[in-house]
């Protein structure tokens, strides 16, 4: 069964279609990268999947459960209450600009949602959070505040925060785009270590070499549509004008 299914998704902003009938699916343990030029709709697609944007067409399913669909009146229908809570618990999202809670310490950022939202036992959550911080190489930052950390450290905390809720699938929205070049490496290393653990991930990224190396499958998007989809080498080496143009711009810098 597919962990995530997005079928015929349409999204428009003020009548302008930015996602034009896109369907994707993600299996358990799979790592999918979405690449493409700015404005191609990749981040919007991710925001639709994480229910931060409401779709204008199509349906979204997590583990076969319907998470969003178009009702009879043409308006999108989203689950409410406990059902919404359950569906949200299936996924986690790492933002481009982290969105850590500045008034909480590093450890509090990580433990607050598991304790207050999932109502899990305090002690167990703290132990898990400390283990996560260790994995992120941030054990000494437990009591620091986000404003005292570098961008790369903030993003690693944000990843730990998302993981603490034990999502079945983790989305990354350009996780290194807000970072100085010398800080991207540490974040990519962490994501790579998650890949080794077979955590299901969907990554929107501009790091081409990284996407090629880490992904099981790559989607190349342009102007709200999927242009190419397949194994990394099939997409990156494809003899296709649009992707050659796109990658060419990258190589020239």
């Amino acid at each position: 069964m597919n962990l995530l299914e997005m079928n015929h998704i349409v999204k428009e902003f003020d009548g302008l279609e930015v996602i034009k009938d896109i369907s994707i699916s993600v299996k358990e343990g799979e790592i999918l990268s979405i690449i493409g030029p700015s404005g191609s709709g990749k981040s919007t697609l991710l925001r639709c999947a994480t229910m931060l944007e409401r779709i204008n067409g199509g349906e979204i399913r997590y583990l076969g459960e319907r998470a969003a669909y178009l009702g009879g009146d043409g308006k999108p229908v989203y689950p409410k209450g406990q059902e919404a809570k359950r569906i949200r618990s299936y996924f986690g999202l790492v933002f481009q600009n982290f969105n850590l809670f500045p008034h909480y310490s590093v450890i509090k950022n990580i433990v607050d949602a598991p304790i207050k939202v999932q109502k899990r036992a305090r002690q167990e959550v703290y132990e898990e959070a400390r283990a996560l911080l260790k994995k992120m190489g941030l054990s000494d930052k437990e009591n620091a505040y986000p404003c005292q950390l570098s961008g790369g450290q903030c993003q690693r905390v944000a990843i730990a925060r998302a993981l603490a809720l034990n999502p079945k699938i983790l989305f990354f929205d350009e996780p290194t785009s807000a970072l100085d070049p010398e800080l991207t490496g540490e974040v990519l290393r962490v994501i790579r270590s998650l890949a080794d653990l077979k955590i299901t991930m969907v990554i929107v990224t501009h790091e081409m070499a990284f996407a090629r190396e880490i992904s099981d499958r790559v989607i190349f998007m342009d102007k709200g549509k999927i242009v190419l989809e397949g194994k990394p080498e099939d997409v990156f080496d494809a003899d296709h004008t649009r992707i050659r143009e796109f990658l060419g711009r990258y190589q020239r810098g």
Binding site: K85, S89, P102, D112, A162
Partner: protein
């Protein structure tokens, strides 16, 4: 009248002034938040009503509002006023007025929060109420504290408007003594009292700001 007797009377008045001050804060701070929610409501009727309310409260003199609250029940409904209602009217008038100002301060603070904070909380599964209480509001408090300090300091001085309802707080007493004794001294003492009280208010607010300066 000796200086010490005058001082004693003014001190008694100061306690009344402080009572107005603290009670007004106690009621107007939470009420302001409720009004701010109404002002930001999706319901256009509620939003418009609140908007008019805030506009009237800010657009007319507080002294006039106090008079309306005090005498209104008599002229409108023939209710008997006086006695303990005088004090109630003062607290009501001040609270309704200050809540309007606080509402706009809350609203500006809430509106200034980055949308990413809401989104992060939403994705992490926080419900709407939890999200506001745990994530948004604590940060709003830090953002609005300087504006709140301004209002609080103004409130200390505004308590003197109670003289318009002849309520015996400090300023009313100072005026009475000054008139009866043809003496300027009560005003000087009153000024010192207000100033010292505001100094204390400023210190408290500054301490609060420092307490919240552990992050930015």
């Amino acid at each position: 009248m000796s200086f010490s007797v005058m001082l004693e009377q003014l001190c008694g008045g100061m306690l009344k002034s402080m009572e107005i001050f603290f009670l007004t804060l106690l009621f107007s701070l939470p009420l302001g938040l409720l009004i701010a929610f109404g002002r930001m409501s999706k319901n256009i009727v509620l939003r418009t009503v609140i908007k008019v309310y805030i506009s009237v409260m800010r657009g007319t003199p507080l002294m006039l509002q106090l008079l309306v609250v005090y005498f209104g029940p008599y002229y409108l409904f023939g209710m008997s006023i006086g006695g303990s209602y005088r004090f109630t009217a003062i607290i009501l008038g001040f609270s309704l007025n200050y809540a309007a100002y606080f509402a706009e301060i809350y609203r500006s603070g809430i509106a200034s929060m980055p949308v990413g904070q809401y989104e992060a909380a939403q994705v992490l599964g926080y419900g709407k109420a939890q999200r506001f209480v745990r994530i948004i509001f604590p940060q709003v408090v830090k953002r609005i504290l300087p504006s709140v300090t301004n209002e609080v300091i103004t409130l200390v001085k505004d308590t003197s408007l109670s003289f318009s309802l002849a309520y015996a707080e400090m300023f009313t007493i100072a005026k009475q003594i000054a008139a009866a004794q043809t003496n300027f001294m009560p005003f000087v003492v009153a000024a010192v009292f207000y100033y010292v009280f505001n100094l204390a208010v400023a210190v408290v607010m500054e301490t609060l700001e420092k307490k919240l300066s552990y992050y930015h």
